[in-house]
Amino acid sequence: MVKNKKQPAVIKDLESIRAMIRRHKRNDLIFAAVGMFVIASLTITLLVLFLDLILDGYPRFTLDFFTNYPSRKPEIAGILSAWVGSSLVLLVTFFVAVPLGIAAGVYLEEYAKKNWTSDIIEINVSNLAGVPSIIYGLLALGLFVYAFGLGQSILSAGLTLALLMLPIVIVSTREAIRAIPIHIREAAYAVGATKWQVVYDHVIQYSYGGILTGVIIGMARAIGETAPIITIGALTFIAFLPPTPVTVDPPFLNFEWLSSGFTVLPIQMFNWISRPQHAFHINAAATGAIIIILTALMNGAAIKLRYNIRKKIKW
């Protein structure tokens, strides 16, 4: 009797458990669907936005667009001064941020002893990465443009973007260095290398890929950076080119371009967005598409590079 009474109870329990599991599994499914929906809709939204941008700007993808100066007439306006300006500004940024960033990263990973000095530097680096870019613009306005008297020049803009890029280069350098196992350093020390020989011949050589990844990501960010450059007072209408950096006569290099006025791609785009005429918006879209394609290509290359490094190197 007792057995008989108990038997159905157990079965009933099992069934209610099964029902509960089904309910829980339904929650699983619901959330998985919600998650997939969110990711898919985000991706699709952004894809649509980018496609729209490219399609809007498509009529202006002509050679003229790249070789013309900006103009009051939207249909003949081009981005010549903007892309030349962007290139020259990035050149300055690259040559300032990369050596400085790598050196700082190497110091923090290989040399710094754990004390208050290195703590202060570390806090500063991570803090700088979180400062809004427009604050760098204000710094540059007060310091480079007026205090140093560099004016609203390519040099000022390049230095400003270099400050923005610096934390990115430092962080990626440190991560790349940290991935090098200690026994490689010991091997180099064991044959009598000095600290700098270990760092220069090994540590920096083997972290090239990782550093390069950071440099590309930093440069991609610098291309699209607008606010700090507006803040230093870059002109939005530039119908001339800076003096060429390379000349036919000795000494072949000319640095006058550094002090020249300039505009850059995102500022040109911003300027065209702010015009009321629709025709200018097409120009803005075309410029935006170019910026997007450039940055996407660079970031894509960086991501691919990092993936390859992770796959290739097995210490």
Partner: protein, 263 residues
């Protein structure tokens, strides 16, 4: 110049005298170790894990200096010039140029085979291509790797097998004509054939220099070494002729360890 010899008329190449070693966290890893290394002989260090044998070995080329807070007490005298290589006045880099080391895991640089072997010479400022070529060839021959790699010196060292990589590391350590070579369990990551190759190589190498080896493998110590030292908990328990240690140790602890009753 006074030569330091033992009763068999063998020259002492180096000697640890009352060596204490403290890691940065304060643990004492070596307690008053006194041990001679004989010229053209292989001295093996055996003992259970954590007994301080690797710590002792790494003291010989001042590897511990790389990590702040580590502290030596006592001396390691290098003969014939009577230099205490642990002295603050002696540059650890100079010590490493005279005493080279081969690590537990093969650790070639991610460079070409040639550059791996040449690196020690480059660090010494040698840049003459002819000299480098000769020295690299000599070292690779010395590490009996030359025949296997002579046609692909520009290949990445990572492409070699584990045993070849370890012999490459030996060639790298050999290229700079060291007076002593330190081996830190050099075969523990290798298969039996590669192990045998390296053991033969060491017996060959001792004709030119002195060898100190840490090994986990007692058969290996018995096979290749001339002298064996048994360490336990940071202390040197016994040091003697390898034959004597393995056949008739004078200490009970040594016997227990060797016969497998302990460790």
């Amino acid at each position: 110049m006074v030569m330091h010899k033992n009763k068999h008329n063998e020259t002492i190449k180096a000697e640890a005298k009352n060596l204490n070693f403290f890691y940065a966290d304060g643990t004492q890893a070596l307690k008053g170790v006194t041990l001679p290394i004989y010229e053209n002989k292989i001295t093996a260090l055996i003992g259970p894990s954590g007994c301080g044998k690797s710590t002792f070995l790494r003291s010989f080329n001042r590897m511990h200096d790389l990590y702040p807070g580590n502290k030596y007490e006592g001396e390691i005298i290098l003969y014939p010039d009577n230099t205490n290589i642990l002295s603050k006045k002696v540059d650890p880099i100079e010590v490493r140029m005279r005493i080279s080391m081969v690590f537990q895991k093969p650790n070639p640089f991610p460079k070409s085979i040639f550059e791996n072997v040449a690196y020690g010479l480059r660090v010494r400022g040698e840049s003459n291509k002819r000299v480098l070529d000769d020295k690299v060839e000599e070292a690779l021959k010395g590490a009996s790797l030359w025949n296997e790699v002579k046609d692909r010196l520009e290949d990445l060292a990572f492409n070699l097998s584990g045993g070849q990589q370890q012999r490459l590391c030996i060639a790298r350590a050999l290229a700079t004509d060291p007076e002593i070579m330190l081996f830190d369990e050099p075969t523990s990551a290798l298969d039996p054939i590669a192990t045998m190759n390296i053991e033969e190589l060491m017996s060959e190498l001792k004709k030119k220099l002195s060898i100190l080896i840490v090994t986990h493998n007692m058969q290996q110590a018995a096979r290749i070494s001339d002298y064996t030292a048994y360490m336990y908990l940071g202390e040197l328990v016994e040091h003697d002729d390898t034959n004597k240690i393995f056949t008739n140790p004078s200490k009970k602890e040594t016997e227990d360890y060797i016969t497998g009753k302990f460790g």
